[in-house]
């Protein structure tokens, strides 16, 4: 499937105190329909600058952005294919109601006002905001405001949705709502580029991950592949108490390693059963295969970069 977004060699430097500081240095990104790309990185890594270059809000020094083949920096029509919720912004008018915001921004994105109104109402219903459609936006909860911002970004049915920290400042329940929405949108074929500091959110939602450090991508892969690459793959058996010397010797003979009350086994499933037989009838607390999570992967990559 052709990518909705194709960014190549994006580069941006700003002047700070008389010298050039590179914010983004040769970033390549692709997002396909129905795909969620989690774009991760520590503060100041260049995520927001990259997103704004993709949205046509910051002009790159080098490189190119194509949204379904169109360049948002030269062809304003390309912006009709983009919707964005930007971090640190209200994104909508607080003095207007949700339905007024949707009609206004829908028209601003090229729809006829009547069509914007109709689509707006459908989105409000889908996002559970219909009862609040005539309430002032400033009176809505933070979670509702964020859902409205996402609805506004979707009213013109963009092919690419840019979500910069969509769960920032939300309570657990509101963040779960936003996560569910993102999952549903991707399921319906929406291409989504997502930045977040909440790595469990990125892990739960993303099909692919790109990790940015000091303006450069240090890892980019399918989320499952990246996690597998950083997982040791060994089994962990947790006991109630450390094994005695005799049992420890038997386990060692089977290739297992003992760390206190934990037995680590790096072999295959058949060997694991032999280890479990050796442990019978001791009570077991946990048996699982070690699997890295995105937080571990992220921290290792970012630390590696710091030591490099």
């Amino acid at each position: 499937m052709e990518p909705v977004l194709r960014a190549r060699g994006l580069r941006k430097a700003y002047r700070q105190g008389g010298r050039a500081v590179t914010a983004v240095d040769g970033v390549d990104l692709e997002v396909r329909p129905g795909e969620v790309l989690a774009f991760l990185g520590p503060n100041g890594a260049g995520k927001t600058t990259t997103i704004k270059m993709i949205a046509g809000l910051v002009r790159p020094d080098a490189g190119e952005v194509r949204i379904e083949g169109q360049d948002p920096h030269r062809e304003p029509a390309a912006l009709a294919r983009v919707g964005a919720v930007l971090e640190g912004n209200r994104n909508v008018y607080w003095r207007l109601t949700p339905e007024e915001n949707l009609e206004y921004f829908g028209t601003l994105r090229g729809l006829a006002p009547g069509e914007a109104r109709r689509r707006g109402l459908r989105l409000l219903k889908r996002f559970g905001l219909l009862a609040k459609r005539r309430a002032l936006t400033q009176e809505l909860s933070r979670g509702m405001q964020q859902k409205l911002a996402i609805a506004v970004a979707l009213v013109h049915r963009p092919r690419l949705l840019l979500l910069d920290e969509p769960t920032l400042g939300l309570d657990v329940e509101a963040a779960e709502h936003v996560k569910t929405l993102v999952r549903e949108l991707a399921g319906a074929g929406q291409a989504i580029l997502l930045t977040t500091h909440r790595l469990e959110v990125a892990q739960a939602l993303s099909d692919r991950v790109a990790i940015l450090r000091r303006g450069r991508i240090v890892a980019a892969d399918a989320t499952a592949t990246l996690l597998a690459r950083f997982s040791s793959g060994h089994y962990v058996v947790e006991l109630e108490a450390p094994p005695g010397p005799e049992l420890a010797a038997r386990l060692a003979a089977l290739g297992a390693r003992i760390e206190g009350a934990r037995v680590l086994y790096a072999g295959g499933p058949e060997g694991l059963w032999a280890v479990l037989e050796a442990l019978r009838p001791r009570p077991l607390l946990r048996v699982e295969r070690d699997r890295a999570d995105l937080t571990e992967v992220f921290l290792r990559l970012v630390k590696e970069g710091r030591h490099a």
Binding site: L57, A84, G110
Partner: protein, 257 residues
């Protein structure tokens, strides 16, 4: 474009309706000033442009002054507020492009202001029985003056977009506008007269003085000059705004405040 103007007009009316006390206050101020003018209190509106002693001349002077002030500040205040509140970048995401959006916004906001002022004026004319011997040709230099004022406003908008906080500068511009509208350049010697042709608003204000205070007939040459002046400043202002948009995007300054 018409669609954009219509939706901006609707947004403006919604904002006015949303805060009824604020709008009522604005209407009361407009009503008091017009009523004061009717009663002959010529200085009630502050340092308004005066084009003679007749009521129509006072009203035209006041209308020009308020609309010109509105035109030079509207875009800048709007940009500063949007940058602070975090909606500016969403406006820039429009496929119409920011220039067309802001042009539409100017037209819509001007229309809303005109509607408010005219409604109050007509209401007061009806209530007081006062009559305006308004000469329709005066509308042409008024339009020329507004074109130039919008040009200056777009130039200031370019500064607001780049620097984000230019409130003091905007306040200072009230005095510049006063100088441009009230100085009788047409009565000055050659260098002053030349300045009167080149400076923004000056030729249109001079024409209004001729028409309303001195009772001179409409001079087609002068009108042409006033319109050319207005158009030139409008284009210059739009050019500066377009350049500011490019520079702001290049330096990544759009979202900051």
């Amino acid at each position: 474009m018409l669609r954009l103007v219509a939706i901006e007009f609707k947004r403006q009316l919604l904002m006015l309706r949303r805060y009824p006390m604020e709008t009522a206050g604005q209407l009361a101020v407009i009503a008091l000033i017009f009523y004061g003018l009717f009663l002959g209190a010529r200085y009630v509106a502050g340092p308004t442009a005066r084009f003679g002693e007749r009521l129509d001349a006072l009203v035209v002077g006041y209308v020009l002054w308020t609309l010109a002030l509105f035109a030079i500040g509207d875009l800048s205040w709007g940009l500063m507020n949007e940058a602070r509140e975090g909606t500016l970048e969403q406006v820039f995401l429009s496929p119409y492009g920011p220039l067309r959006v802001y042009l539409a916004r100017s037209l819509a906001n001007l229309a809303a202001t005109l509607v408010l002022n005219l409604a109050v004026l007509l209401l007061l004319l009806g209530l007081t029985g006062a009559r305006l011997a308004f000469s329709p040709p005066a509308l042409l230099p008024l339009a020329a003056a507004l074109l130039a004022a919008y040009g200056v406003g777009y130039g200031l908008g370019a500064l607001a977009l780049y620097f984000k906080r230019i409130q003091s500068f905007l306040n200072l511009f009230q005095f510049v506008m006063m100088f441009l509208i009230m100085t009788p350049f047409e009565r000055l010697a050659a260098p002053g007269r030349l300045a009167g042709a080149v400076l923004p608003l000056a030729p249109a204000a001079g024409m209004l003085r001729d028409l309303l205070a001195r009772g001179a007939p409409l001079d087609p040459g002068g009108l042409l000059l006033a319109l050319a002046n207005g158009l030139a400043y409008l284009l210059l202002g739009l050019g500066l705004l377009a350049a500011a948009i490019r520079v702001t995007k290049r330096r990544g300054l759009l979202g900051g405040y």
